[in-house]
Amino acid sequence: MKVLYFAWLRQRVGCDQEEVTPPASVTTVAALIDWLKTRSARHAEALKDSSVVRVAVNQEYARPGDSVGPNDEIALFPPVTGGSA
């Protein structure tokens, strides 16, 4: 499973993407985030407040209960701030 990080999440985690193999019990977005927090202190710090973490599965917005699988591209990022005033 490929996990991408953007903006301050990328800076706090310390990498822009990583290949991960969570245990088979990790089948949802919420479970994946909980498991990612156990990878390092930096992950735990970056992901501690889930209210400011948005998730995309295969480039579509996803909710905590949505499923994730080994071949998915998961992206974690803060709320988006494009456009202009």
């Binding site: 953007f6 903006a7 995309a56 579509e60 992206a75 803060p78 988006v80 701030t81 494009g82 202009s84």
Partner: protein, 150 residues
């Protein structure tokens, strides 16, 4: 049409290219977003726009499709820049064209409101106190929500 690019764009040339050879178009609306030199009480020297290549194009295309479902549009264009930009630089261009003004004006407002809350871009501002990530604003969510169908 959707474009995500580092380079600047020429507003006049883009509108001309979009509407040329389509005499059914009676009205063209456009929105041009610029980098401001101030955020709150701080001067902004520059900002860097980061995005998620691939998802950005998908989300912009989906927003564009939604606008075309809701309004009778003859042509649309969304250009969004990324990379480092300075005050006064253009960030985003939205152009909508239709037989009549109402569809063009409404669709243009819809597109700019929706892309702010859906397109995966993040702004990092350079201020005298250092660099900082711009936080999402509740007003933007509210602006996008007014287009939600009941």
């Amino acid at each position: 049409m959707i474009r995500v690019q580092r380079e600047d764009f020429d507003v006049g040339a883009e509108i001309e290219a979009l509407t040329r050879d389509n005499p059914a178009i009676g009205g063209v609306a456009s929105f041009i977003g610029l980098v401001r030199d101030v955020a709150g009480s701080d001067r902004v020297r520059a900002m860097t726009l980061e995005h998620y290549p691939g998802m950005t194009e998908r989300q912009l295309a989906a927003i564009d499709e939604e606008a075309r479902r809701r309004w009778p549009l003859d042509a649309t264009l969304i250009i969004h820049r990324f990379g480092r930009l300075e005050p006064g630089d253009r960030i985003v261009l939205v152009v909508t064209a239709s037989a009549h003004r109402q569809a063009a004006l409404e669709a243009c407002a819809f597109l700019i409101d929706w892309l702010k809350t859906k397109a995966p871009f993040w702004k990092n501002e350079e201020t005298p106190h250092g660099a900082r990530w711009v936080a999402a604003r509740h007003e933007d969510d509210a602006a996008a929500a007014r287009w939600q169908k009941p």
